[in-house]
Amino acid sequence: MLYREAGQFKASYAADQAIFPIAQDRVLMAILLVVAAVVVPLTATQYLYTAILIPSLILALAAIGLNILTGYCGQVSLGTGGFMAVGAYTAYNLFIRVPELNLLLVLLAAGAMAALVGVIFGIPSLRIKGFYLAVATLAAQFFLDWVFARVPWLYNYSPSGSVGVPDLYVFGFPVITPTQRYLFILAIVALMALVAKNLVRSSVGRAWMAIRDMDIAAEIIGIRPLQTKLSAFAVSSFYAGVSGALWAFLHLKSWEPAAFDINRSFSLLFMIIIGGLGSILGSFIGAAFILLVPIFLNQVPPALGIPLSTATISHLEFMIFGALIIFFLIVEPHGLARLWQIGKEKLRLWPFPH
């Protein structure tokens, strides 16, 4: 009986168009934010931060980006890892070459550069569709992999090919301990998630979805296909770029190009399929889910007295992800986010089943 919208009349279109039209959802979101920003920092352990919270937030950001391109605009990309790399290496080069630049500006530039590269690789999307485009994005992935491994200037002639950054500060505040890093990342991700949500419920978002659902019909209502697709590529890659920079600077701290290889692209795609295509919330759920499965496999079976070899764990991971992808595509293409929604609907009607 708690989750009821009875008595909540939407008096205006503004209220009806709010992100969370139902009061309970607003409350839930507020609670979630308070927990994330206050309760977590008071209680979380180092492990929780570095193994789960920080990586899932950062990857959720990239997943939101990919979801904009694939889930909302219908253009499959297998190159997200490459765009993350562009962000990471742009940030790195700015950092070592213009050390006085504010970290936020560095992140912005990382996103902007990734957006630019994304747009360039998005150009074929005008003429090709679906899986043809997937192949073009693979071109981006492999080419970018190569660039960051073979162009020495980009990795500052580091003999090992791996690069790193020292402790970071923003406006003089340290972003060093896990708590500090977590809070900084949380702020950025929350803000960017809000922006993404705004975009997808505005006319840009409707144009993206129109292209996704039926591109020819989109054209007759005046949507310019190339511009629209490229805007999705730009926004998507911007998110990937910022996420890549965060991943490198605040999660890995030192890294090499392999951190952004094709496996990263695959796992991001899996996040949005399992989390929910065309759902911002789903991007978060998917990212957390994909990160938790290996942790679960590493810890739970041994705790139950079934020790698994590392090889077995990695194979199991492959099989579980593969099976889940198929499962969700068949049963619920809108992923875990949709299941969550269905749960809520049920709750809303409870205890009357209809």
């Binding site: 205006s12 279109y13 503004a14 168009q17 922006v195 705004n198 975009l199 419920r201 505005s202 006319s203 840009v204 409707r206 144009a207 979805m209 129109a210 996704r212 659902d213 039926m214 020819i216 019909a217 989109a218 054209e219 007759i220 209502i221 005046g222 949507i223 310019r224 296909p225 805007s231 065309g278």
Partner: protein, 264 residues
Amino acid sequence: MTQQSGRKIGGPLLKVQGISLSFGGVKALSDVSFEIRQHEILAIIGPNGAGKSSMLNVINGFYHPQSGTVTYKGATRKQMQPHEAAEQGIARTFQNIALFKGMSTLDNIMSGRLLKMKVNFFLQALYWGPAQREEIAHREVVERIIDFLEIQAIRKTPVGKLPYGLQKRVELGRALAAEPDLLLLDEPMAGMNVEEKEDMCRFVLDVNEEFGTTIALIEHDMGVVMDISDRVVVLDYGRKIADGVPDEVRANKDVIDAYLGVSH
């Protein structure tokens, strides 16, 4: 035949001249010319495969004819892109519904107003001030269309889940949202029962009368055609075989032959 009042049929809004279109060996249209006049309802009829849909596709820039020209609002061009046609005020519906299946009725119709929404990307990203005001202003227009088409109850339903007849209505709504000068309807009543057909006829007539929208529609149901159209163009095997007011066309021998020669 009902004679509509309160609107005056004017000069040609659109003229197609000598249009020929073929796909590989198939000649879809050969040397077709006719005009659509301001504020009229023009019906395009003809047996299956006559080239009716192809004609609409030429008009709104989907197909590019091998020869011939399209003159619209005084400007003559050999071809244009569909989005250019939309910018020029041409809207349409499709024979096989072409809605955005994953979006709600509301969003589908809202998307019809995309060209009228001007707020820039960054304000949309913030969903603030002008962006929010614009959304609401357009929402109000869209709500009027929803009321007009009597589809209030399915506002939030994803259109993929709607029955066929309602989908056709939503598609009309999306086209209307663009406030077009020329509305192209490809078999808007196909597959509907009598009641749905009557509703659709009423919508078409109301749009024409209230907003003065020029309408070209393809329809197989002769009763409907004779009832609502001001003029009729008949195509057969890609050629125009007749063009005139309904009564004339009905009496035309070529038309009778074409219809008798083809089984339906």
